[in-house]
Structures are given as structure tokens and as C-alpha cells.
């Protein structure tokens, strides 16, 4: 187990290294570069630009710049935002919780609805409900998240004045209830895709478990169907879903960026988009690294939790 853990950790660290090279390359090889924003300032001369470039270390070879950045990153110094000179880690730390809250709440919604739909689909396989769930999931995966957000705003903020159209709090308010009220719409919108995915995997997982001997035994013992489904089947069918939850992180993060934009939710996705407008390279680099890190942790966590909870999986 510990040998496996070490190997997986090592693989993840190597991946993270490649990830950082790719992110650095994407941002720094692009035309324009970090200097583009200064070049637009009126009265800026070539000499000024060269001086700024020198001060920022941008006139040195790229691999050297990467090496420098890499060293500082390991020391916890991720640079300072070009926009307000705040440390990048602090800027990201200020935006990450909002994104995580959004992701956690929509995952909860997805788990609740998706499990129900998936289990029912598996129990009533090939029924009308099962078909509708299958087709519905495929349509849900085809709907652009931001458009679904607009539709929800139109329906529940414009036509029916039930939900706020955006933001995290009403100005002048700050209660938890007010926050929850603002959270409903974006969490639902972000959950659309996750519900679809979760319900499909849940259905497959449940189908597999229902065919197992111990389920037949439980039924043969004359146990009530409810107990068989909830106690014997569902518990085991939920196990592989741990892995699915971990692997959903890239989808969730990408969806969060779009959802945050539509609902002006002050999370990391919005930060990323705003930073692109400002050509704020240190923040962009930081956000790319944090998202990749989250994805890697999700993958690793999925593997390990799965192994811990399912004694049939032997790691060596």
C-alpha cells in the first residue's frame, strides 16, 4: 500500500512538473507577452519598455525565466499580480473558496438527484423512465452551461422573481440565508452536467451490483426489496462512484468558470477571465497551476479512497 502510494505520488509530482512547463510555455511563448500591456501606455518609449523588461527579468532566455519562477514557486513565492501588486497566492486564496463552495454544493445536488435517477433507471431497466433518463442525460450534456444559466436567470429572476440574478450577497445584507439564496441558481446550473454524468455511471454501477450473487442471496432470504436495494446493492454500487467524483474535477472547474461569469460569482474562474483582460501573467500562471493541482489531487484521491474503501482492490 505505502509503496503504491509513493509511486502514485511520484507520478503526480512528475505530471505537475510537465503541467508547469506547459502552462509557462503557453503563456510566455504567445505573441505579445507580459510586456504587451505596458506597450499600450501612452508615452512609453522602446527604452522604457526595455528597462521594464530588464527589471522584470523578461529579457533573459525563457528556460532561465522558468527556472527562476520554479524556484520561487517552491518557496511559496508565486509572484505579484500586475494589477494590484498583491501576492498571487493571496489573490487566489481570496477567490478559491467561492469556487469550491459552488463546486461542493453542485456536487451534492448531482449526487442526490443523479443517484436517485441512476438507481431507478437500473431497477426499471428499459422502462420509459430509463429511456427518458438516458436521452435526458445526453441532451443535458449538449446544453452550453452559460446558456442554461441565461435561461435560468430569465425564468427565475426575470419572469418569476424568486432568485437573484447574480452576485453572492445582496448589497447591505450579509446573512447566511441571503448567501444560500444567491447560491441556488449557480449551483443548479453547474449541477446540470454533473447530474447527467453521475446518473449514467450510477445506473451502470447499480446494474453491475444487482447481478451479483450476494444480492440474489439477500433476495432469496426473503429480505424486503427496499433493504436489498438500499442496504446490499446501493452501498456497493456507490463505491466505484468515489472514483467518478474525483475524475469530475476538470469538468466542474471548467463549468465553474462559465457559471461564475454568468452569475457574477466572485470565484477563481472570474479571476482567471479578468486576469486575461489585464494580461496579468503571474495570476494566470497561478490559477492554471492551482486548477491542475486540484485535478491531480482529485485523481489521486479517487484512486486512494477507492482502494481504502474497497477491500477487494489490492494495491502493490
Amino acid at each position: 500500500m505505502s509503496a503504491y502510494l509513493l509511486r502514485r505520488l511520484g507520478q503526480s509530482l512528475i505530471l505537475l512538473l510537465i503541467v508547469s512547463v506547459i502552462a509557462f510555455g503557453v503563456l510566455h511563448l504567445a505573441p505579445g507577452g507580459p510586456l504587451a500591456q505596458f506597450a499600450l501606455t501612452p508615452g512609453m518609449t522602446q527604452a522604457d519598455l526595455a528597462r521594464i523588461a530588464h527589471q522584470m527579468g523578461l529579457d533573459r532566455p525563457l528556460p532561465l525565466q522558468y527556472w527562476e519562477w520554479f524556484h520561487r514557486m517552491l518557496d511559496g513565492d508565486w509572484g505579484r499580480s500586475y494589477r494590484d501588486n498583491q501576492p498571487v497566492l493571496a489573490v487566489i486564496g481570496g477567490h478559491l473558496p467561492a469556487t469550491l463552495e459552488l463546486m461542493v454544493s453542485s456536487t451534492l445536488i448531482a449526487v442526490l438527484i443523479g443517484t436517485w435517477v441512476g438507481v431507478l433507471g437500473a431497477l426499471r431497466r428499459y422502462s420509459v423512465f430509463d429511456y427518458l433518463a438516458t436521452v435526458g442525460a445526453m441532451v443535458a450534456l449538449s446544453i452550453p452551461t452559460f446558456w442554461f444559466g441565461l435561461v435560468v436567470i430569465y425564468a427565475f429572476s426575470v419572469r418569476l422573481p424568486w432568485l437573484p440574478a447574480g452576485g453572492m450577497y445582496t448589497i447591505g445584507e450579509g446573512s447566511f440565508l441571503d448567501y444560500l439564496h444567491h447560491l441556488i441558481a449557480p449551483a443548479l446550473v453547474l449541477a446540470l452536467v454533473t447530474v447527467a454524468i453521475w446518473s449514467r455511471y450510477m445506473r451502470s454501477s447499480m446494474l453491475e451490483v444487482i447481478g451479483q450473487d450476494y444480492v440474489r442471496t439477500a433476495r432469496a432470504k426473503g429480505m424486503p426489496e427496499r433493504v436489498v436495494v438500499l442496504h446490499h446493492a446501493l452501498r456497493n454500487a456507490l463505491l466505484p462512484m468515489i472514483a467518478i467524483a474525483g475524475l469530475q474535477l476538470p469538468t466542474l472547474l471548467g463549468g465553474a468558470l462559465v457559471t461564475e461569469t454568468v452569475f457574477t460569482w466572485p470565484g477563481m474562474g472570474r479571476l482567471f477571465l479578468d486576469s486575461i483582460g489585464y494580461r496579468d501573467y503571474p495570476v494566470l500562471m497561478g490559477v492554471l497551476m492551482v486548477t491542475a493541482l486540484l485535478v491531480l489531487i482529485g485523481n489521486l484521491g479517487a484512486d486512494l479512497l477507492y482502494a481504502v474503501y474497497d477491500p477487494r482492490i489490492r494495491l502493490d
Binding site: I14, L15, I18, V19, I22, A23, V26, L27, A30, P31, A122, R124, R125, Y126, S127, Y131, T134, A137, M138, V139, L141, S142, I143, P144, T145, F146, W147, F148, L150, V151, I153, Y154, V158, V193, A196, R200, Y201, R203, S204, L207, E208, V209, I210, G211, P250, T251, L253, G254, L257, V258, T261, V262, F272, I276, R279, V287, L288, T291, A292, V295
Partner: protein
């Protein structure tokens, strides 16, 4: 990752009492694929021919007749905030969005296939390096990567297509790599090696033709993904630039007019959903038809 692909159905063994029967189920699935195909062909035909039939020009600004609702006057689907005909804009946007989606699919499939074949055939260090690179790119949610790329290129049809392909080739590479790795050990491939056939010949003449089915499925689902990705970055303002219309950028001012002119938001979104659903249905049907191992669903 953008969950454009409908590839969430995993095969599950185990028997349950079929209620409508497997044959019925297959028929329904394939009828969905047929519906999808009809939607795609319909949209493509409308985008290709429609602009010649619609009397309005998609770029003609008519401030006096802006915000005309659909089905209420000479403009069939109404007009937008500048008085441009919505139908004409939707049709022209369809040309752009479908073209980008299709071109990005071809590009990403070619890149993914080449990477997958090289990694699967040579294996060892080359395979490991290539596939770790694939893994690393997959660590970025594609919208983040796409925006980072989009912000720094001059946005036009070609560049948008290229960067979408750059964030969508990895899944194809994974599929192809796995396929080639198993095919490489099959008798016909071993025989080709024994006959002294050059690597290039074995890869492109012996192995790839046998891996066409999963490639076609992945490619179809990739069109859906590419259309979605284009709409995302265009909506966020970094994709196709106005006045050229794409389904995504038609939506980027629509939020401001939700209360008074909801059709500005509703119509382009319906077009995107229809096209993406169409490709997902077809991809799913193809997978059923081409992959006999998934019979037990």
C-alpha cells in the same frame, strides 16, 4: 474537460429482465442517431442555402426596427439590438460555428491519431513520454487552457479552429494508443513485422485501418465538443469576433437584454444545443453499431 462527449455510458454486465427488449432498445437508440443525423444535415443545409432565401442581410443594421420580437412582423425570428435580422444572423452564424466545429474535429483527430499511433506502436520511452504529455494536458480544464491560448492569438476562423483542436486531441490519442497497443501484438501485425515491412507501413496501412471504428466515434463526439468550445470562448469574448456572427458570440450581449428581448438569448442557444445533441446522438449510435462488445447495455 468539457463534457461534450456522450461517452458516459459504460458497459455493465449482469442481466435484468428486459421490459421493452434489447431489440427495441437498439432501435430506439438508432432512431435517436437518425434524428441526430437529420438535425445535423438540416442545420448544415439551412446554413449553406438559407442565407440566399432569406431576404435580409445578416450585417444590415436597421436602428428603427431593433428589438422586433419573433413571429411579429416581416422579420421571421425578430431583430437584435441593432435591428439586424435574427434569422439571417443565425444562419450565417451556423456556417461559422459548424465550419469551426468540423475543421477542429479533423485537425484534432489527425493530431490525436498520430500521437496515439506513435505512442502505441513504439511504446517504451517514446510511448511513456507522449502519454505523460497527454495526461499533463488533460490536467487543465479545457476552458482554462483554451482561454489562455485565445487571449494571446489574433482571433480569426483559422486561429480559433487551431486552438480548439489544440485542446481537444488528447482523448483521441488515448483511444488510439490503447487500440494500437493491443493490435500490435495480433498475428497480422506480427506477420507484417516478420516480413520486414517498414514501421510507417505497419502503422498506417496495417494498424490504423483496424482502429478506424473507435476513431470515427471519437471524431464524431469531438465535433460536438468543438462546437461547444467555440460557443464558450465566443460567448466570453475571445472567440469569433463581431460583426461576424457565431452562435456563441450572438449570446455575449444577450444577457443585458434578457428582460426585454429574451429571444436574443434563447434562439442561438437552441441552435447550439440542437447541433451538439445531434452529433452526440450520432456518435452514440455509431458506438453501438461499431462496437459489438457494448452489446450488453
Amino acid at each position: 474537460m468539457i463534457p461534450a462527449s456522450g461517452s458516459i455510458d459504460i458497459a455493465a454486465p449482469g442481466r435484468a429482465r428486459p421490459r421493452l427488449g434489447r431489440g427495441t432498445r437498439r432501435f430506439v437508440r438508432h432512431r435517436l442517431a437518425l434524428l441526430g443525423l437529420i438535425a445535423i444535415v438540416g442545420l448544415a443545409l439551412a446554413a449553406a442555402v438559407g442565407p440566399y432565401l432569406d431576404p435580409y442581410n445578416d450585417l444590415h443594421i436597421d436602428i428603427l426596427h431593433r428589438f422586433a420580437p419573433p413571429f411579429s412582423g416581416p422579420h421571421l425570428l425578430g431583430t437584435d439590438q441593432l435591428g439586424r435580422d435574427m434569422l439571417a444572423r443565425l444562419l450565417m452564424a451556423g456556417r461559422v460555428s459548424l465550419t469551426v466545429g468540423f475543421a477542429a474535429m479533423i485537425l484534432s483527430t489527425v493530431v490525436g491519431t498520430v500521437v496515439g499511433v506513435l505512442a502505441g506502436y513504439y511504446g517504451g520511452v517514446i510511448g511513456a513520454v507522449l502519454m505523460r504529455f497527454v495526461d499533463a494536458v488533460l490536467c487543465f480544464p479545457s476552458i482554462f487552457l483554451l482561454l489562455a491560448l485565445a487571449a494571446f492569438v489574433q482571433p480569426n476562423l483559422v486561429s480559433i479552429t487551431v486552438i480548439i483542436a489544440a485542446t481537444a486531441w488528447m482523448e483521441v490519442a488515448r483511444v488510439v494508443e490503447a487500440q494500437i497497443r493491443t493490435l500490435r501484438d495480433r498475428d497480422f501485425a506480427v506477420a507484417a513485422v516478420a516480413l520486414g515491412a517498414p514501421d510507417r507501413y505497419i502503422m498506417f496501412r496495417e494498424l490504423i485501418p483496424n482502429a478506424v471504428a473507435p476513431i470515427v466515434v471519437a471524431a464524431t463526439l469531438n465535433v460536438a465538443r468543438a462546437i461547444l468550445l467555440e460557443s464558450y470562448i465566443s460567448f466570453l469574448g475571445y472567440g469569433i469576433q463581431p460583426p461576424v456572427a457565431s452562435w456563441g458570440n450572438m449570446l455575449n450581449n444577450a444577457q443585458d437584454y434578457l428582460a426585454t428581448a429574451p429571444w436574443l438569448a434563447i434562439l442561438p442557444g437552441l441552435a447550439i444545443t440542437l447541433a451538439v445533441t445531434g452529433f452526440n446522438f450520432v456518435g452514440d449510435g455509431l458506438r453501438d453499431a461499431l462496437d459489438p462488445r457494448l452489446d450488453g447495455r
